[in-house]
Each structure stands twice: as structure tokens, then as C-alpha cells.
Subunit: 430 residues, 4 copies
């Protein structure tokens, strides 16, 4: 077996990335044998990770702190997403990392989660951009694609040279994709082709994607099928992917719509077997796992900054804010939820690799971790008092982002009903 380092293409140093410098302030995955209480990992979750996973986490954290953290403030302000980030991630082997073969690292589900945590520690938008590439599109192709589709797309997607987008949600159908209106009908003249028509919205990466995995109902069967729409092959006017601007969160990621107007797609670009919601839901399941793990990184970053601020900021007779009970309680609550959330994410990751994870488990950790990340990030933001309104502390950005993670890929209330149905056997959606 190839070692992880070779598979992740970390050959010696990070020197080829611009702006590399020694990471000293924060070290996430290293410590190891400390016997005491580690506020950055209160329940010693690192103990549950393999050497390989620790190394992957360390690599990902280092890259994110050194290379994407310095860009995020401006990116968020300007709603600018630099697609080179995906190429850099690809360079390090971070894309589609849980896929085995096709130039991918083939690491554990937990290792994949650690990567999302590292990225989301910087920004949920960057993690979203990566999740779409890795879980939704590459994961979809790997699970449902033909051998040809895999060979054609996965290697260059793994390198971040070919970018993907995932088109499921429609303007009128958010929580209920089964009612989608996007349609694929047989091309009336051109054999072996379908014509796709319809609109998708809130599609991360759509404006920059080279290949768009679009879910549409096959006219003749009424069943949902997946199509790989390649932008370069689309005749003018059949595909448009306008960006949606002025977002209230995830501004460091790029989001757009997909408009298809009789866009011709070869039958060879359709997923061969999967029909109905099973396909997109399976992709979402992987992505949701990444969100469950990733949001813990965002919350950890909030704790890091709130703690530092509370220790540094002094009010009333020179006491640091950290001395106030109401401040300590917020920190204690957040540290608890992050520890619990990581344990749950590791557990479900292990079960996933053993084939024992169910979608309801993913719903449970996606819902809970997003909810708790958001709740605690908001409470920690209060520690900054009036200064919280400055975007330079980063916590406000996390708060805005985490709200979005709570609403996408299954809003929390919807997941409540999924879990409730699994517990009671009764469905309560309508």
C-alpha cells in the first residue's frame, strides 16, 4: 500500500505554494501525549485518529492557515472566489480524497472529514466550494458513473483542473426536490442525445464550473436522472450560469443559477442506472457528512478567537473579560458542543467505512452540528461586544456562514422530521 504522504502528494515541502511561512501560532493535529486538559481538544478526540489521519489533518490545517486564511477577508468582502484554491487543494490531494483510485487519495471518511474541518476553520464558503467538487460531483460520478465517465472526469477533477457543480435545487423546490421541473427529453433529431431544459438555483460554483451534474426528469419515464453537462460542448444560448451576488453569507464562495434551454447532452453523459432521488440524496449524504465535520472547524475558530479576545480585553478594574462568569459559560458551552460534535462525526465516519451508516445518522449529525455551531458562534460573538461589528475578528463571518450551513442541504427542521420519522415510523412532512 502506498503511504498516505505519497498518495496526498506531499513530497517534501509546501514550498511551491506562494507565501508559505512557518506556522507557529496554532497547531491543530500534532500535540499527542499531553496528559492535561487541552482546551483545543477537551475530550481528546485526537486519540481516536490514526497516524495517517493525523498527518492528513496536519497537512490540511497547515495549507488552510497558511494559504487560504490570508485571502478570506478580502474574498468575503468582495464576494470573490478564486478558483485557484481548488487547484491548490488538488495539488495537495485534498479533493475527492476518500475516493479510491482515479488519482484520488483513498483515505478514510474520517480523514475526509478532517479536511473539511480544516477548510471550514477558515471559512464555510471555501469548504462549500470544496464539498461540491469532492462530495457532490466527484462522489456522484464515482458512485453512479460509467467506467468511461470516471476515467474521463475524476483524474482532472482530483487535480482541481476541471471544476464541477451540482444542480439539484430549483427556484420553487428547495426542501422537496422530488417535485423538480427540470426535464430531459429525447433530442428530436440527433440520435443519442437529450435536450435539457429548466432552472436550478443556489448552485455553488455554477458560474465557474466546467462540468455540471444536473438532475432532471426524463420525459418518457418521469424519473429523475443525472446528467453531466459539459460547458464547452453546450451551444450558445443553451446554458447560462449567472452568479448570484449580494449574499448575506458564504460570500467567499461563488453561487449561481443554471439555466438550461434545450441544451443537448449526449446519452453517454447520463448516469447509467440510478433513478429517482436515490442518486442526488446519496451525493448529498456525503456532502452532509462533510458539513457535519466541517462546521466544527468553524466553531473551533470562533472559540479560538473569542478566548483570545476575552483574555486580552480588559474592562472594569483591569479584569480580562475571561474572568466574567457569563463569558466563561459561553466558552464552556461551545467547547462542550464542539467536543461532542467531533466525537459524533468520527463515530459516523467509522460506521460509514464499515457500511453501517444510515442517512438518518447523517441527518442527525448534520442537523446537530450545524445547529450547535451556529448557536455557539452567536453566543461567542457576544463576547466581542461592540467590536463584533468589525469584520476583522472573523466571528461575524462565521456566524453568517453557519446560518447558511443550517439551511442548505436540508434545513434543520427538515432533518428534525427525517429523524422523527425514523424514530416513530410516521412521516410528518405534510
Amino acid at each position: 500500500m502506498l503511504s498516505f504522504c505519497r498518495r496526498l502528494r506531499i513530497k517534501g515541502s509546501h514550498a511551491r505554494l506562494p507565501g508559505t511561512q512557518v506556522l507557529k501560532a496554532r497547531c491543530y493535529a500534532s500535540a499527542g501525549s499531553r496528559p492535561g486538559f487541552d482546551w483545543e481538544d477537551p475530550l481528546l478526540t485526537k486519540d481516536l485518529l490514526t497516524e495517517e489521519e493525523l498527518a492528513i489533518s496536519e497537512t490540511a490545517e497547515r495549507y488552510c492557515q497558511e494559504h487560504i486564511l490570508p485571502r478570506v477577508l478580502q474574498a468575503y468582502r468582495n464576494e470573490h472566489y478564486d478558483p485557484k484554491i481548488l487547484e491548490e487543494m488538488g495539488d495537495l490531494g485534498l479533493l475527492g480524497a476518500t475516493i479510491d483510485g482515479f488519482g484520488c487519495a483513498g483515505v478514510s471518511t474520517v480523514a475526509g472529514g478532517l479536511i473539511t474541518r480544516a477548510v471550514e476553520r477558515v471559512d464555510s464558503g471555501y469548504r462549500s466550494g470544496m464539498s461540491v467538487q469532492s462530495s457532490l460531483v466527484m462522489g456522484g460520478i464515482y458512485e453512479f458513473g460509467t467506467a468511461e465517465q470516471k476515467e474521463k472526469y475524476l483524474p482532472s477533477m482530483a487535480k482541481g483542473k476541471l471544476l464541477g457543480a451540482f444542480g439539484l435545487t430549483e427556484p420553487n423546490h428547495g426542501s422537496d426536490p422530488g417535485s423538480m421541473e427540470c426535464i430531459a427529453r429525447r433530442h428530436p433529431h440527433k440520435s443519442g442525445y437529450y435536450l435539457l431544459s429548466g432552472s436550478k438555483t443556489w448552485i455553488t460554483n455554477s458560474p465557474i464550473a466546467d462540468v455540471l451534474l444536473v438532475w432532471a426528469k426524463l420525459e418518457q419515464t418521469g424519473k429523475i436522472r443525472g446528467f453531466l453537462v459539459e460547458r464547452r460542448d453546450c451551444p450558445a444560448g443553451t446554458l447560462e450560469t449567472p452568479a448570484i451576488k449580494n449574499k448575506t453569507g458564504l460570500r467567499a464562495s461563488i453561487t449561481g443559477m443554471i439555466h438550461l434551454d434545450d441544451c443537448p447532452v449526449p446519452e453517454a453523459n447520463m448516469f447509467p442506472d440510478v433513478e429517482g432521488l436515490k442518486g442526488p440524496f446519496s451525493c448529498l449524504n456525503s456532502a452532509r457528512y462533510g458539513i457535519a465535520f466541517g462546521t466544527m472547524g468553524a466553531l473551533e475558530d470562533c472559540i479560538f478567537h473569542a478566548r483570545a479576545y476575552a483574555l486580552e480585553r480588559k474592562q472594569f478594574k483591569g479584569n480580562p473579560l475571561a474572568k466574567y462568569q457569563l463569558v466563561q459559560k459561553k466558552l464552556a458551552d461551545a467547547a462542550t458542543d464542539v467536543s461532542y460534535g467531533i466525537l459524533a462525526a468520527i463515530q459516523v465516519g467509522r460506521l460509514k467505512d464499515q457500511g453501517k451508516a444510515t442517512p438518518e445518522m447523517i441527518s442527525m449529525i448534520k442537523r446537530q452540528n450545524c445547529d450547535r455551531a451556529l448557536h455557539n458562534a452567536r453566543a461567542l460573538q457576544e463576547i466581542f461586544g461592540g467590536n463584533a461589528v468589525s469584520d476583522e475578528y472573523g466571528v461575524g463571518r462565521h456566524v453568517a456562514n453557519l446560518f447558511v450551513t443550517q439551511t442548505y442541504e436540508g434545513q434543520s427542521d427538515i432533518h428534525s422530521l427525517i429523524i422523527g420519522r425514523a424514530i416513530t415510523g410516521v412521516q410528518a412532512f405534510a
Copy 2:
């Protein structure tokens, strides 16, 4: 007694304002004799208002909906505050409205609160801009100024032609202004003058203000005193008021710093008698009252939009979101809190006019109404699902704004301790 309409200078129509049109969609202060349940005023708080107060509210609401609502989206996106808004408000008599004389309307405290509610229904930032002018600066001059100071400043401030700012908070002293470092020392050469030095931060309107009410410690006594610093009289280099950009909330208001470097201020511009924190705290008390009432307007706007969206948006078998229990509970919670909050604001307003209100009462309603407005606005935002990330629904803007209202003019935890001290007689700040 002059009628309110004359005092508020509503002489016939709003025709002189650009873009006037008939307000039809929403009518806040009119209804009256409906016997049924009014979801816009569930506990019929209107019943507690006088005819005059209803008329003021109607005027303010109409102006805000017709004239400032159309500007807010762009203003917020671009962090642009149009000072003409204060002039328009002055034109209608909305500035310093509770002040009697000096060209002010002399309306009740509750009427003043209704004005803030109308403005904050559009945006907390616009309300902040107005609160600074009305409560903090005009209120301060009215309460503590000399007869000359009142005559000199209040009439043109009431018209919105002279703009004010209030300089209390310093970079290192947020919740604890008593430790301020800003200093006023006797001018070594120029008799009857003080030299002011120090920095203030998070000062609403500072970059555009003509007159800045700056609180500083008098060198010889160590006591805090108030100074009216007129920008046009400051020698170059002695006063700077840079704007703070990239805010995470209140982006439709303008915020800045105040840097004073041996800035000469005539003794005649010092408040004559008030010493210590009594001065600024009294001003804050009025402003906080406005916040307590104003945030209810922001929450009402969130309810309005969330309800409309829930009725219009259909998911799962064509049911509107409004049919879902989890959605209805969010609406019921918000409607309850807004009703209770308005009742409390009216009660404290009445007591204030009777001289029975205490600062702790203001702490209580400021804290509770901000907290509940924020909490419910966040819950209502969830109703929008993924669409919440679009800034066009407005709820995300309110959420971002309301977080700031919770942290400024006394962060909620600080107010908890103020109330706690009043209940127990024991102080727990340090």
C-alpha cells in the same frame, strides 16, 4: 396648545418629498376599531395610544416606507449613509421630537418611541443615525446645556441641518466608560479654552457630524465633562473622524472614530454643571429607550416578510410553509414577543413622562427587547430556508443589525448585571 400636525410640520401632504406615492401595502397605525385578532398588533397595543400618537406614528411610518425603504438595500450593500435622510426627518419634525421648544415637536416619550419603531422597521442603522441626533446629542444639550448652547444648536439640529455625534466609547473602554482616557486640559496660552486629546471609536455619524458631543476627563478634577466640539472651528490636524468600513451590521449607518489631538474648545462649549457618568448615562438612557421601542419595529418587519413568504412558498404536495407546525410556532413566538415588548415600551414611556422611570427599567426593556428581537428574527430567518442568503428578503439584514443593537449602548450581559444589582443590592461586575 398647538396641534401636533402643526408642530410636526405636516402641512398638507408629503408632496415635497421625492418619490411620494400612495402607501397601500401596509398600514401600521390606522386600523382602529376592528373587533377581531389583528396579527400585526395581537394585543391591540394601539388602544393605549392617543390620537396624536397614532397620527405621529402614521406619519413616521408613511415617510419611512415611502422614502427610506427604497434606499436601504443599496445603502446597506454599499455602506453608504445619505445625510439627507436626517434633513428629511427634520423636515417632518421627527428629530428631537420629545423636546419641548427650540423648534421641536414636544411629543410624548411614547410618540418618540413610535418614531424609532417606524424607522427601525426599515433599518436599525437608520434608526441609529436618528437616535444619535435626537437622543444622544439634542437630548444631551437640552438636558445639560446652557441656555446659549440650546439656542445655538437645537433649532438647526431639529431641522437636520446641523448633524451631531456622541463621543463616549473609547477603543479600550467599551462597557466601562468610567475608565476613559480622553482628557481635557486648560489651554496653556489661550484663556477660556480647553485642549482635548484622545480617541473615541464606534461613533455613529462621526464622519459627517458638524458638532461632536465629546466626553472627556477634566485634567484638574479627573471628572468627566461634556464638550461640544464644532468641526468647523477645529484647526487642521486637531480633529479627525475617519469612517470605519466593512462592518458586519448597521451598514446603512455611518460609523467612525474621533481622534482629538490638542483640539481647542472654548469653555462656553462645555456643559456647565454635569460631572461624571451622570451626563452620558442620562443621554444613553433616552437612546436606549428608543432602541427598546425601535427593535420591535425591526422584528415586526421580519414577521411581516416571514409570514408573507410562508404563505406564498409551497413545498411538499403544494402546501404553503405556513401549514407546517414548526413554522407556525416561530411566527407565534415572534408575535408574542413583539406584543409583550411593545406593551413594556409603552409602559416605561408613560412612566418616563411622569418622572417615575428608573435607569434599571430602561435596562430591562432595552435588554429584553433587543434579545427577543434578535432571537425571533433569527428563528424567522430559518423559514426562508436557502433563500435567506439573498439579501433581498431583508430579514438577514435585520438579523445582522439586531445583533449590533444587542451589543451597543450596553451589551445584554451588562444590562443583566445592572438589573441583577438592582434586584439584589449586590454588584457583580468584577
Copy 3:
């Protein structure tokens, strides 16, 4: 107009009640002109009361503190309810106090609420016993009874010499009384009589009631009608009212079932006109108003005891618990909610007297006040630490009681849906 004092039969002293003594420790409705912050009435709600209401409140508080408080600990431990309490209350004119005529005091709705607050300050169970008599049965007879029924029952019920119970809830139909199974069919032999059959459960006072207002479906119409079942007239075996023991709350009240087995009731004992759920819902509406006001009394008592304990109990270097921020926050939260809750109750009471109150308003204040009373009582209970497990502090008893108030006469979730329906126009019960 008779003065209130005569109507409430307070002729000079409370001397006729055993154990009377001067009330000094606590004085609820007296203070008046204090200019400062009054932690027992933070928003000076007393200011909204008339002289008469203040006097009624004072009378009720004095009676409750002097005469029923000393009995409650044993009563709760032993699940014993002393029916003499209702007679004492009748003696003071506290029963059916809002009814005009028939020996009742004819006071305002707010005055009626102040009475429930006084009683519930001691115990929700005692208030329940009174509410059944006053609101559910006397109120029902007054609103829907014939002139004969009123004359026959109200005067002796007002004196507490004839006790009532209200039979609506059935074992299988709690939140949904419209599905009741209790039936009234024409007596096959005896003209002018109905035979009632069916079971009611969770009926306060049923085991001791002389007259039971039972709601049953008329066989011929299928419509719900109200019947006044007099125990002394029921042949053996046709009426049974076993007590339900081992309750987890409201143990100082007596609760039971009603079993009717072809129980003959004269047609003259049926309410003449009211059909359907309008009848019982109207009675419940009055009772719910009393709960909304009453629970505030229970919460006030929790604040009183928690504050006293926090000031007296010292931990860590001799500091009273009151010095801890986490303790102060609990007190501040509770004081806020109780102030807001009382304002809302007063507002709805005033509207009720003007004919402007709607059932949804009652749902709103019943739900909110019960929820907040319970939430805060639980938080205050934490202040007692391990000592909370002793029943002598009373807070645990209030917590257990308040949970029940949240579930009876409309569980909070049901009221959420009532309010939600009123806001959206869409019903979400099923």
C-alpha cells in the same frame, strides 16, 4: 354604586378568620409612590391599577399569605384539599368576583386576575380549585344559564357553600374535546329528563363538587350541550367521582374523574341555547385568563425565595450567591418575564372589559405566561443547589405545579397552533 369594600364584604377586619396576624414580611399591593426601582414590581405595573383593584389585591394577598400559605406544605405532601378554603374565599367575596349581581362582587377582569395572582403566589393548586368554581362553573352559569339556574346556583356558589366542577376533558380526548364520547339521550320513560353517560377525567374538585357542569353530546342532534348535574339528585350508581391520587403536581388541589351511567338530569338543568364547543371554550377562556395572571404570582414567589436564599447563602470566601453573575442573570431574566407578563395580562383584561379581547389573545398570554413562569421557576430552582430537593423552600412545588399549568386548559403547543392559525389563516392541527 356600592363600594368595593362592601361588595367584597370586608367590613372591618379579617378577625373572623382563624390565626389572623399582622402581615409584615411582604406587602404586595401597597407601596405606591416609591420613586426608585422596586424589584417586586420592576415596571411599576401597580401604576395601571385602580384604587379599588389595589384594595382587592391587598385583601386577597393578605388572606392568602395569612390563611392558606400556612396550610400548603402539608396539603401538598398529603394530597389533601380542604374545601373550607373555598368557603373562606367566598366569605371574602373572592369567588366569581367578576360577576355582577347574584351576590358577586362585580369587579373588573384585572381585579379578578389579581385575585388569582394572590392565590397562585401560594399554590397553583389552590388557584385551580378557585378557578374551577369562579371561572368555569359560575362563569358558565352566568354566561349561558337560564335566569332560574343563575338564581339557584350563583349566590351559594359565591359564598363557597355549594361547590362546582367542570366536566369537559375525557380520557381519550384531551386537546380535542370536539370528539367527546359523553352522551345525553332523552329519558325513555321520564319526560323532561335526559340520561347522561360517559366519563370525564382530570376534573378538578370533582370528588367534592355538589354541582357538576358536564358537557355531553345530545343524542338527537350530535351537538355538545351543557348540563348541571346535582350530586344529591343522582340515584345511586349513576354518578361516581373517584379521586385521582399520586399526582406529580397540583397536589394541594383535588382532582378526579366523573363517571356517568344513565344519570338522569332534568331538562331544566341544561343550558338553554349554547351549542357546540362555544360554551366550554368560552368558560375556558375566562379560566385561561386567570391562569395567565395567576402563574405570574407563582413566579413572583419563586423570585422572592430565590433572591432571599441568594442573599443569605454564602459560598467561596463568604460571598453571597447573589454576587455571582450566573445567579444574577437568572434573577434578571425572571424579573423581566414577570413584569412583561403582568403588563400583558393587564392589557388583555382591560380589552376584555371593553369587549375587545379575542380568544387568540388569551391563548397568547396563557401560553407565554405559563411557559415563562415554568422556565424561570426552573432556572431559579437551580440557585438552591442541592437544597432544592427539600420541599420546604417551595420552589420545587411551584415548578411541579407550573408544569401542569402549561399542559392543562390548552397545552402550550396547542396554543402555538391557535396563534399560528390566527396569524396565517392556515390551520396546522392535523
Copy 4:
């Protein structure tokens, strides 16, 4: 190595216990290979247990469901604790199970936690009785006792034939035992003896204990030391252990005081080396671990009953309560918290066995699991509506018990400050 079954003395059947019957309704630790979602173990925590641990859990669950569940309702009503329960538990090897040797089973910390979970699934009071025996007293003797003390006490305590109590808390010193007043002074006449004086309160099992581990300050050093006080050796009048009755929770356990009045204790009964709070805190640490795991059992029982009730109870058009979104959310929340809580308890148990657990970790899981158990139990209780007031559903009993678990062995706020101190390095107790 002896097999677990021999160590736990399960030789063939449970036949020697009265009333044994086949357990069919609920099976907690068996399932195993089910591929789907298991609402009783949503995140498949069983997967983390060894075969031995599963067997121990099964044994404990079976015993508790068959033998102590049938007694708890009456025991709780009557505040009666049957000491035979400890003997039965001893018989099965459940007491001091994590101790190696001295007739104890020597199982893992997690296995010990599974036992507390099984017992607390029935009642927190029964678990408290066991925790005192196992963790506080046996654990204390095992960790700090002399070889002679261990030999003398542990074997008969393991069999449940000698009962222990743990005397730390004093009437005036709950959260702050360091200020204790209980004193041990050298016997003025009798060499090798100490005289103990002082009072302890809220001592589980004190009225029935044979040996009381009492912590007192040694007069000559002022340092806290541990003494094993044997009841049978105490002269009349020197030891009294009155029961405390009328508790609001944990009524199925017995609680009392310890009064020592110059009670002579031989020096041989003092723990040899441990001084200060290290001794009692170490014992509490073990007990707190048991609480963290145990409370999850109580919450699981609440879920079990609430789910069953929600499926069975029908309202509005015959829909089961389980169909209501507001009900499903409560179940989903509880199931999530219980899964997360068990994962955290397992993790800390594993770390404890590896010597990596710190007291702050125990604080974290004790606080969080008690808080979440209580919070969710209360929410689930709401599902029962008015019926919740009947003690036969058991949920009200769990709610009352869980409140106590939140306040004893470190009230949650205290644990917040312990965690906060560990995170910030700043202490905020005073």
C-alpha cells in the same frame, strides 16, 4: 484471566431472584448486526463496546427491568428505599465493579458506566444508592485506604452486605467543601483515637449505612482527612444519621444527615496519606462519571415512554401524536442528545482506563449529560399533556430526579466555571 461471567457471578440464571420472568418488551444491549437505523441507539454506540461490556450491560439491564423496575413506583411514592437492592446488586457483581480484586469484577470504566445506565434507566435514586456504595465509598477505600482497610471493607461491600455512605457536604458548604467545619481532634485520653465532631447533610444512604466515610479537618494541621466511621463502634449519642424526608426528587433513595458529637474513631480508620480536597474530589470524579453515563439511561427511558405514548395516543381526526411536527422535534432532539452523550461518556471512559482522563473532562460530561437529560426529559414530558400529572408514566419522576442530578456532585454552573477555568486559565468563582 477469569471470564467476565464468572467474575460477575452469573452462574446460570437469575432464578434466585424473586419474580424472574422472560424479558421480552425491551432488549437493550443485544441487537448487534441490524443494518438500519435503530431509534434506541441512533449512532450505533453499541459498536464501540466489547463483547464483555455488552454482556455486562445485558445482565444489568435485565436485572433492573425485572427486579427493580416493579418496585420503583411505590418506593418513590412512599420515599422508601429497600437496602436489599444493594445486596441483590452485590450478588450479581454490580457493586464496585471497576475495582480489581477484593471480590470485585474488575471491569472497564465503560462497563461500570453501562451498569449505572441500566440502573438509572429505572430511577436515578437507585443509581445514586449504588454510586455511593461503588464509587464514593468503595472507590475511596480502594484508592486511598490501607491494605487492611481494603481487606476489611471491600469484600463485604462488594456483596452489598456492608453498606457505605460518603460524608462530605455540610449544611453551610455545598459547592465549596474546602470551607468545611467538621473537625477531628486527637482523643484527649485514648491513644490512637480521634474525636470527630460536625454535621454533614444530603448524605445518600446515611440512615442505613454501616460504614460512613467522613471527611473532616484534622485539628492540628487544618488539612482535610478521610475517616471510616463504623456505626456499630460508635458510643450512643456520638453518631446520629436522621433521614431527610419529603424530598422533591430522588425519593426512591434514602438521604439523611450525619451528626457527629465527639465520636471516637481509631487512627487505623483514617486514610493514611491523602490530604486536602484531593481525596474527596477523586471519589467524586468517579461518581460523576457514573452520573454522566447514568443520566443517559434515564433519558432513554423517557424517550421510550414518550414515543410509545405518542404512537398510541390519538387526537384530532385520529392522528397519533407522533404525526405532529412539534412532537417529532422533541423526540429528534432527545435522541440526538442521548446519542451524543453516550459517545462522550464512552470516550472519557476509555481515556480514564488509559490514564488520560482529567477532572475537567468529567466536569464536561457530567454537566452536559445532566443538563441535556433534564432538558429533554422536560420536553418529552410535554408530549403527555395533562396526563403527565399521573405518576404512572414515569417521566415526571425522571424529570424530578434529573433536576437533582444536575445540582448534586457539582451544580452545573459550578462545572461551567471549572471548564471555563480550564479553558482560560482564569478562575471566576468569586
